[in-house]
Amino acid sequence: MYVYGAICDIGDRRKENQDSILHLSGKLLDTDAGLFIVADGMGGMDKGAFASKSITDWFLSWWKEDLPQMLGAGFDSKDDIFELLEQEIWDINNFILDCSKRQNIRCGSTLSLLLLLGNAYYIENLGDSRIYLLRDKSISCLTEDQSVAAKMMREGQLNEAEALSSGLKNKLTMCMGMFEFPKSLRYFGKVEEGDTFIICSDGLYGRISSEDMALIAGEEGELQIKAQKLRQSIPKGSCDDNASVILVRNK
């Protein structure tokens, strides 16, 4: 069974919240399942919110209609699930692109998606929102950022500290709604008892170390309270971006 806690906060300095989150948990064909999304919109004003909200709205419909239909028809293999996820990403991307063109605007969003089906996890990630896994008190980031700074870090041109402080960390190389071919990074693994997933936007992880995240998320207690605690761990006034986090635990 999957339990969760979620926060989607405007931050201390922004005038609008361009983040959107989705948290769904229940049973699909008698199997424990959950769908959790953090989408960090970009484009200014309400454009970023439009992009991120489109993602969560579409995936809500996907969870209700598309996924159960295909699972019921027997398409439950790993490849099938990823195909279905990526079909949806494709359609949403086209939708945002199309709307943007019609309105002559530019907007996009990151996507950090965690799908839990039975004892397996499926991740689709675009952009620089992240998904961490806390297992046996050890935290690891399951996803790779798709940003210029992250790319340079992987290529050895920057170290971690330089990448974090670099202005290039906000330059994304991939996201939803701005590219004709959305290239997501997919991850798959087995869920073990006690695993806690932390899905968050850069507004959160950019202000709090992964160790602190592990400490807070690893404590016993309601996950909703932990999510709030994570947000509050950012010193007041210094959360200069929208901050979103979802904690999911396999109980």
């Binding site: 598309d66 239909q69 295909m70 279905l84 079909q87 210029v148 190389t173 991939m174 071919f181 290239k183």
Partner: protein, 548 residues
Amino acid sequence: MNSEFNTAYENMGASSYLRIDFPEDTCIVDYEVGMIVSNDIKNLLKASKQVINGKTALYYNISSKVKLSQLIGHKQLKRNELISLIKGAVKALNEAEEYQLPKENIVMDPELIYVIPSSVEPYFIYLPIDGSGGKDLKELILELIMGNKIEMSSDNFIQVLLEALNSDPFSEDRLLGCINRYAVPDKNAQGSETHTIGKGPEIESIESMIPRQTISESVKGETVERPQKKELKPQRELPMGKKKKVKPEKNRKTNTDDKAESAEGFDKEKARKKFLLPQAFIMVMAAAMISFGAFTDAAGNIIINNVLGMVFVLLLIEVVIYREAFVNTKQSKSEKHKDKGERKKNKKDKAELMTSQRKKPPVPLKEGLQTKTEGNISTKEDELSYHKKIGRDTKPDDENEHGRDIAVRYNIPDELLANETVNAKNTTDDSEITEETMLWEGAFEDSAYLEIFVNGTVERIPLDKESTLIGRLGNKVDYTVQNPKIGKIHAEFINRNGRIYVVDQNSKNGTYINRSSQRINSNTPYPLKDKDLISLADTEFTLRCTDL
């Protein structure tokens, strides 16, 4: 364009360049420079960058192109040339958007638009600076019209163009839609296996006419990884081809006639030569005979008999030569053709006779089904995918997008449809009278339908409606195929007056015709013919219809 930028022309090897020097204080957008330097963006001039002493210069490759202002300085633009210009401009604007390049930075000044002289396909300069401003496409076209740079025509093309330009809000795509129907069809266009209507052709025409450039799929920046899917490359579509200017010239009429006649085998010129040459010989002979005194006696008196005899002989020779040159040649040529035809006919009759007398082999099943049978070494998808007919959402037409006029949506002009010629498919193999077992067409005999072969059965999907949607999501489509690789709404089949078209609905895994390795362009109707194979991702359908 800002006049403070210096421009100059340079040649390097076989290539010509327009160089634009930007002053030091110019706010150059590096990302945009990167885009135009690293990518072949359609209808934008490829650029390369140089920084010398802190000053940036961009070199735009203008090889084999001329300035638009230079072209219209000598002549007016014909309709198709204007359409080519507009199409290229819209293409450039759309492509720029794909690359996150602001449209307003595309220079729409005839002095700085470079075109391929034969087709007037345009290539634009993109200025990667903040706030470059300048004319837009609408202003460019208006300038051309008002400056009398467009050839007037007897129909209402210019009026329609002006209306499209003045519509509020102005839309480039709408403009393109309005002018497409006025394009004069290219008589040299060859039919290919797949055709496009609407947005399709200009893609091929642009690609076929780009000189010396490698047409490769654009890469959106260096940092984007390409997805592992088939390339979205336009197929060979109705090519515009090189427009051959047909100039009927009066002084060439005779030759044309001769050529026309030579098609039948009688060459008038040859005949004339054949007749005239002997005349010259005869005259020489006659002159020689006279000078040697063949017609005068010793006293110098004219011998009437000799003269008469000579005249008689001459007449005879003339008649013979004339007949030989003009009459017999003509007859013999036409008789040859007749004989040829008759011989062919006789051969065919003979062959048919022999065939009918031989024992007839079993009539094969229809090609599509046979293919399916052979392909019944089923893949996992074949085994798993099944289908059921589910009605669409019962929304009123005015709310349902698919209730709109298909022709308007996909810009299928009536005259184009009416003029389409399709090789009349000989389906007489189906109508041969035979005693062999044949498939009963049943209710689908005269209608178009799709066949899908799954788990040993053939199911038919009727295409009698104007629009039939096929996809994965039951409540959104007319026909459901449960295959994760198929999009929720994957493709639309249009039936317009009996002609069937397929339109990919911007699917992820594509739609393919006749097992082509290249997917069809999305949102573009492709005409189909009987027995065409249409694959939605990896699920294959066979179209059965009457070829018109």
